[in-house]
C-alpha cells in the first residue's frame, strides 16, 4: 500500500500539489502553546527518474551508473515561519538515516509548536561539533550508523553519504590494457563514493528549501513534506566528477573518499534536494 502511494505521488506529484492547495478546509487559527508533529519524506531519484537499486542511469558525464546503495544522514532540522522565526528541532534527537536498501525514507518530528511553516533547513551529514563530541552526544547513533554502512573507522567519523554501484566509463576502450575489473566484466567497474568530513576538511553542509505550500502544524494536523533527493547531482551537478578519473592505479575500481572531490561533492549536494509538495491535514499520506 505504501509503495503504491509512493508511486502515485511520484507520477502525479503535480496533481497532488494541486490537491494539497485545495485541501485548505481546516481552520487557519493557531492555538497558542499547542504542539504538533510533522514528517519529512525523502524520495530518492536520479535526474527526474525514480531511483531503483540495480537500475542503470546515464549522466551528462557520458558515464552509466548502476546504483546498488544510496544511504545518507539527515540532521539538525529547522522549521522556519514566514516571518523568519525558526524552530530548531532538539539537537540530541535530530540525527536520521535515509536508506534506499533498508527502505528508510521518513523523518518523524514531534512536539513542534503549532504554526505555519514555509521553509525547512537540514544538514547533510554530521556537523563538526557532534563529530568531535563523538558518541557522547550521539548516544547510540554510532551503532545505528554502523548498521547502515555510514561510519568510517580508518578515520573516525561518519559517512554522510554512501553511494555505491558499478559504472561504465565514457571511453571503455581506454581501460582494455588494465587488469580485469573487480566486477569480472570487462569495461564495468565498481565505484564507492563515501562523502564525509575528515580532520582536514569539514564537508558538512546545511540546505534550506522553500516549501511550495505552507506546512500547517497543528495538534491534529501533521503535514508531510515530500522531498526529492537527486542522487545524480553527486557526480553530475555544478561540479562534474568523472568516476573514470578516479579509477585506482590498477584500474579495477573507483573510490572517492577524500581530497578535493569531497569538497566538490559537498557543493553539488547543495542542489541535490527540492521539496516536491506538501500534504497538509491529518492522516497518513505521501
Amino acid at each position: 500500500m505504501k509503495k503504491n502511494i509512493q508511486t502515485f505521488a511520484w507520477l502525479f506529484s503535480a496533481g497532488s500539489l494541486f490537491v494539497a492547495c485545495n485541501n485548505d478546509d481546516n481552520s487557519t487559527i493557531i492555538e497558542e502553546n499547542t504542539f504538533g508533529a510533522a514528517e519529512l519524506y525523502f524520495d530518492n531519484g536520479v535526474n527526474g527518474d525514480k531511483l531503483v537499486l540495480g537500475s542503470s542511469y546515464s549522466n551528462s558525464n557520458s558515464e552509466t551508473l548502476t546504483i546498488n546503495r544510496f544511504n545518507y544522514i539527515i540532521s539538525n532540522i529547522v522549521l522556519i515561519k514566514s516571518d523568519g522565526t525558526e524552530y530548531i528541532y532538539p539537537k540530541a534527537k535530530s540525527y536520521f538515516i535515509i536508506s534506499e536498501e533498508a527502505d528508510l525514507h521518513t523523518v518523524q518530528l514531534e512536539n513542534i509548536p503549532a504554526g505555519d511553516y514555509v521553509k525547512v533547513r537540514f544538514g547533510l551529514g554530521v556537523d563538526q561539533q557532534k563529530y568531535l563530541e563523538g558518541e557522547t552526544a550521539q548516544q547510540e547513533f554510532w551503532d545505528y550508523a554502523v548498521q547502515h554502512n555510514l561510519t568510517w573507522t580508518w578515520s573516525t567519523g561518519y559517512r554522510f553519504i554512501n553511494f555505491e554501484g558499478t559504472f561504465k566509463p565514457a571511453h571503455a576502450a581506454k581501460h582494455e590494457d588494465h587488469e580485469e575489473p573487480e566486477t569480472g566484466t570487462p569495461g564495468l567497474f565498481n565505484f564507492q563514493i563515501h562523502q564525509g568530513s575528515n580532520t582536514s576538511t569539514d564537508n558538512y553542509r546545511e540546505i534550506t528549501l522553500n516549501l511550495p505550500t505552507t506546512a500547517r502544524i497543528r495538534q491534529t494536523d501533521k503535514p508531510s513534506i515530500h522531498i526529492v533527493a537527486d542522487a545524480n547531482k553527486i557526480t553530475d551537478g555544478r561540479n562534474k566528477i568523472l568516476l573514470q578519473d578516479n579509477l585506482n592505479a590498477a584500474g579495477t575500481n573507483a573510490s572517492i573518499m577524500g581530497g578535493e572531490n569531497l569538497i566538490k561533492i559537498a557543493e553539488n549536494t547543495l542542489q541535490m534536494f527540492f521539496v516536491d509538495h506538501v500534504h497538509n491535514g491529518s492522516g497518513s499520506h505521501h
Binding site: E133, E135, V146
Partner: protein, 341 residues
C-alpha cells in the same frame, strides 16, 4: 572460590551496591600548553578511570579476545610496543606503522601518524576496527561485556545512564587516557626549578642545540606542534605508506606524518612512523646525513645548500644526553596505570 565467583555473578547484590563515584583530581602541569580537547563533557571520575583501565587491558576489545590496547601500548615502554618496528595485531598480522606512545593525550589536537582522529572520545575507534590490529566493532564489544556481571556493575558505577554501550566504552577509555599525563622528567624539574632538575654541561649543551635545531617542530614542553610534516625519510616501497594523504586525500599531504612528542623517547625505540631506526644515534645520523628531497619535504629541512640538520658527533651526543632527560620514571611506574590497581 570458583564456585563462589560464579554465584556472585548471578546474585542480586551486583545490581544493588553501586560504589560512590567522585571526580578524579587531575593535575595540569604548569609548563604544559593548553588542553587541546574538550574534557568537561566526559571529565574523569574514579569509577570511570577504573573502568577505562580495565578495558585498556582487556583482550575482549578484539575479535578473538586476544589483543588488548596494552598489547601494543606497554607501560614500561611509555605505552609503546617495545622492540617492534611495526605493531603486531590479531592473527599475528603485522600492521604498517610503529605504535605511538599513549601519553599527554589531552594536550594533543591530532592523533595517529596520519591524523585519523582529532577527538579523544573517538580515537579508540581506529585501532578497534583496524583489521590488522583488533578487527572488532563497538556493538559486538558491548554484547560481550554485557555477558559479564562485573562489567555491568562497573558501567553502572561509572556513568549516570549506567549503560554498557558503545558510547560508554569510548568514554571510559577516554577518561583513562585523560589521566595519562607524563610531566615529571628531569627536564620538567629543570624547567620548573624543582629538586632533581640539575642539568650537567652536556645536557645544557644538548638543550641549546635542541632549541636551535629541533624545537620549531618539536615545540612547547609537549615537544610537538601537532602538525604533519615530511621529514625526508626515504619511503619504504614495501609499505607504500602515503601518510596523511591517506586520511585527507590531498596530494600535498603525501609522506607527511604527525610530529611525535619526544617525551620518554629513551624508552620508545624503535623510532619513526615505521620504526626503522633502532637508536637515537641512528635518528640523528638520519637528520644530519639521510634526509632525502622527496615530495612535500618540509621547508624547515631545506636550508639552501643543505637538506637536513648538520650535526657533529659531539653535538649528537649532547642532543641524546638532553633527550634522555625527557624520561619520566614516575610515569612508567605509576600504579594508577597498572592492570590490577
Amino acid at each position: 572460590m570458583m564456585i563462589f565467583g560464579l554465584f556472585s555473578c548471578t546474585s542480586d547484590d551486583v545490581y544493588e551496591s553501586i560504589p560512590a563515584d567522585s571526580l578524579f583530581s587531575l593535575k595540569i602541569p604548569s609548563n604544559f600548553p593548553q588542553i587541546a580537547q574538550n574534557i568537561d563533557t566526559n571529565f574523569p571520575t574514579q569509577n570511570g578511570v577504573a573502568l577505562g583501565r580495565k578495558l585498556f587491558y582487556d583482550g575482549r576489545l578484539s575479535r578473538d579476545n586476544s589483543v588488548s590496547c596494552a598489547f601494543c601500548h606497554e607501560q614500561q615502554s611509555a605505552f609503546t610496543h617495545h622492540g617492534h618496528d611495526l605493531s603486531h595485531g590479531i592473527d599475528n598480522l603485522t600492521g604498517k606503522r610503529n605504535a605511538p606512545s599513549v601519553q599527554n593525550i589531552i594536550f594533543q589536537s591530532e592523533y595517529f601518524y596520519d591524523g585519523a582522529s582529532n577527538s579523544i572520545q573517538m580515537l579508540s575507534i581506529v585501532p578497534i576496527h583496524n583489521p590488522l590490529e583488533m578487527d572488532e566493532s563497538l556493538p559486538t564489544i558491548v554484547e560481550k561485556l554485557k555477558q559479564d556481571a562485573q562489567y555491568v556493575q562497573l558501567f553502572r558505577a561509572a556513568f549516570s545512564n549506567g549503560e554498557v554501550s558503545s558510547s560508554n566504552v569510548l568514554n571510559a577509555l577516554a577518561q583513562f587516557m585523560t589521566i595519562m599525563i607524563s610531566a615529571d622528567s628531569k627536564y620538567d624539574k629543570y624547567i620548573r626549578n624543582e629538586a632533581g632538575g640539575n642539568f650537567d654541561q652536556q645536557e645544557l649543551k644538548g638543550l641549546d642545540l635542541f632549541k636551535n635545531n629541533c624545537a620549531s617542530c618539536h615545540a612547547t614542553d609537549l615537544f610537538t606542534d601537532n602538525s604533519f610534516r615530511n621529514n625526508g625519510l626515504p619511503p619504504n616501497s614495501k609499505l607504500n605508506d602515503l601518510g596523511r594523504e591517506e586520511v585527507t586525500g590531498f596530494r600535498t599531504d603525501r609522506y607527511k606524518f604527525k610530529v611525535p612528542s619526544l617525551r620518554n623517547i629513551e624508552l620508545t625505540a624503535p623510532y619513526m612512523h615505521d620504526g626503522r631506526f633502532g637508536s637515537l644515534q641512528s635518528v640523528l645520523n638520519f637528520y644530519s646525513n639521510g634526509v632525502q628531497h622527496t615530495e612535500n619535504l618540509d621547508p624547515l629541512l631545506q636550508n639552501n645548500s643543505h637538506t637536513g640538520i648538520p650535526l657533529t658527533q659531539e653535538e649528537k651526543e649532547a642532543l641524546i644526553a638532553f633527550l634522555k632527560t625527557l624520561t619520566d620514571y614516575d610515569f612508567v611506574k605509576n600504579p594508577l596505570f597498572y592492570h590490577k590497581t
